[in-house]
Amino acid sequence: MMKSLTKNLTQQFSDPIFNYILKEIPPYIGVVMLQADDGGLIRYWHGSLDRYFDQQPTEGQPIEDYAPFLFGMVPPLINPMVISHVLIKEKVYVEVHILNDDENNTWVILIDQSKEVELIHPIIQYYNEEKLKSTRDNKQASTVKGTLSALYLLDYLTFEREKDGYRFHGITPFWFDQLNKKLYSDDQKIDLIETFPYIEVFQIEAEEIWSSQYNGKVISGLWEETNKNGTHIYLQALALRNDKRNYLLIKPSNQENGMSDGFIQKAREQKLTLDQLANAERKLKQLLGFKDQFVSIISHDLRSPIGAVIGLSELLLTDEDLINKLDEQQLELLTDIKNEMLRLLDYNDKLYQWSNLELGNFKITKKPVSPLNLANYVEKMQSAKLKKKNITFEKKIDSDCSFQADETLLGQAINNLVGNSVKFTPEGGTISLHFSNSNGQNSIIITDSGMGMDKDTCERLFSGFTRKTTMGTFGEKGTGLGLGIVKKILDAHEFTINVDSVLGKGTSFTIVV
């Protein structure tokens, strides 16, 4: 009796469908790889080996030392060699694939089968019990039916496709009982589409396999069903043709975890966020563009009315008849109007420059520049203020100092810097403008004997607009724009600027060109 039992069992397990499912269906998890050279020494490994081994291998270690279960199998006797259900440590079963490549390296691939073995175990149990019973009852169950009926233990809902419908095998697996579904049967045939409308579409694909001459399989996409308790489950169908018989198996999919919680869900969420960010950025840029354009237009259009008021106040101030009639206070008021308007004009011009720089309307054209011309231009621009504060302006030009720049823009930048120095240099002080060449490094250095700045102010100097402007030594007001413009112009040239300042002693700006 013992003998017939084992024979029956082997028959069961050699059932091609059963083997097929065991070999093909379970997802390959925990795949690791080891590579050994022709002498059997480990060269390379891949995957999380700690699943199977207590320690990491070392390069050059004999592979049979590291994985004793490979003893005598490297290189493989047949190529490839595949051994299933190898117990490598407690409760850990693997499928071992041993392959040789053209260069006589041996590749060992391990696939975790522990779960599968765990699942097979109850089947063996089931068969043992069934067979014991049947030998007792002296009845013989149909082989095919027997195996298929047991597939529910592997979570499969099993049907055989027949000409006019589906025949159900075995009993329903646990997950099916959790669904809000039942099987509709009519004269032993199951109306599977009533239960799972999805199958209607899958059948179209399955039919190609089922009507073929050959064995084969096709796996469906996933579909979602709702459990009685409101949770969701993803199912997947498998159509099989084997030995001229057709099967349809349905099983919960374990792919959806990896897919929805993982990769695809994340990728899609990320894409949505990125799209939103890109949109916001586009809108912001557009708005900023509008702002600069607006500022540019307004400051351009304000220039002539401001100029007109200045012209008029100058006209009044040079009218001797009028001047004679005004008392001192009235004259001062008129002078204030003119000065304030001049300041407004200066501010307005800077705004115009700024907005055009932001808009990129100023194109840099680098040409060799003349330091002398630049120095003269700046001196001329500042001459009135220099005279007023009795400041000495020193120009120093090293003969070998030469570089390329946009002369107009650079002139503006230096002028702004010198203007700044004038503002903060007390009466009788000195400002020097030095075009230097020291060991081939060209730079422009502006030094003043002004009031200097603390470290904090130095650091924030070039950060664009500042609300906080410092009064000059004569109470001159600033625009808060000047140094921002300087920085823009220098950035466009790819020049750098450094500032060096001692409080109460003076400041020095160095433009490295």
Binding site: P197, Q255, E256, S260
Partner: protein
């Protein structure tokens, strides 16, 4: 329900079938089939609604899912212009597989007006070429019921 990912296919079906809406995005893997009985001019019709996964580079909708369908919704997201392009591409595929079954283009998320991106001109052009188009909001329950009953009517007229 055909369309790019995250346009609101699942949300529209859930709004219609179960009168619920969730702000949380849970991408559909595979296919979810829901059923709803609707009454059109005293005729009861059972709708089998196939909510498909969103079409993108990760997952491309297979034509087989469309075999035998009597009609379909193309869904786009009004705040993402590219989803309209995807809807147009899916329509070309669906037209062939369903042998010209009726369809309606739903431009969803109509509640998000300030983030709206789809140009009204583009919508007009499609309307002129004969497309049925509706602006819907699964979130605020705007035009959802109407969309489903119109498509049902269109499907019944064909038969």
């Amino acid at each position: 329900m055909l369309g790019a990912f995250a346009v609101g296919k699942t949300s529209l079906v859930q709004r219609f079938v179960n009168s619920i809406f969730s702000d949380k995005y849970h991408t559909t893997i595979g296919v979810k089939i829901d059923q709803k009985i609707v009454k059109v001019d005293d005729t009861e019709v059972t709708l089998m609604l196939w909510d498909l996964y969103g079409d993108d580079d990760f997952m491309i909708v297979k034509p087989t899912y469309l075999y035998g369908s009597s009609g379909y919704f193309l869904v786009a997201d009004g705040t993402r212009a590219e989803t309209l392009q995807i809807a147009k591409r899916l329509q070309e595929m669906a037209e062939v597989t369903t042998k010209n079954a009726p369809f309606i283009l739903l431009i969803n998320k109509s509640d998000l007006t300030e983030a709206w991106e789809i140009d009204p001109e583009a919508i007009n052009r499609l309307k002129q070429s004969g497309w049925q188009i509706m602006l819907t909001s699964a979130k605020e329950d705007k035009m959802v019921e109407e969309a489903f009953s119109l498509l049902t009517k269109m499907m019944l007229e064909i038969q």
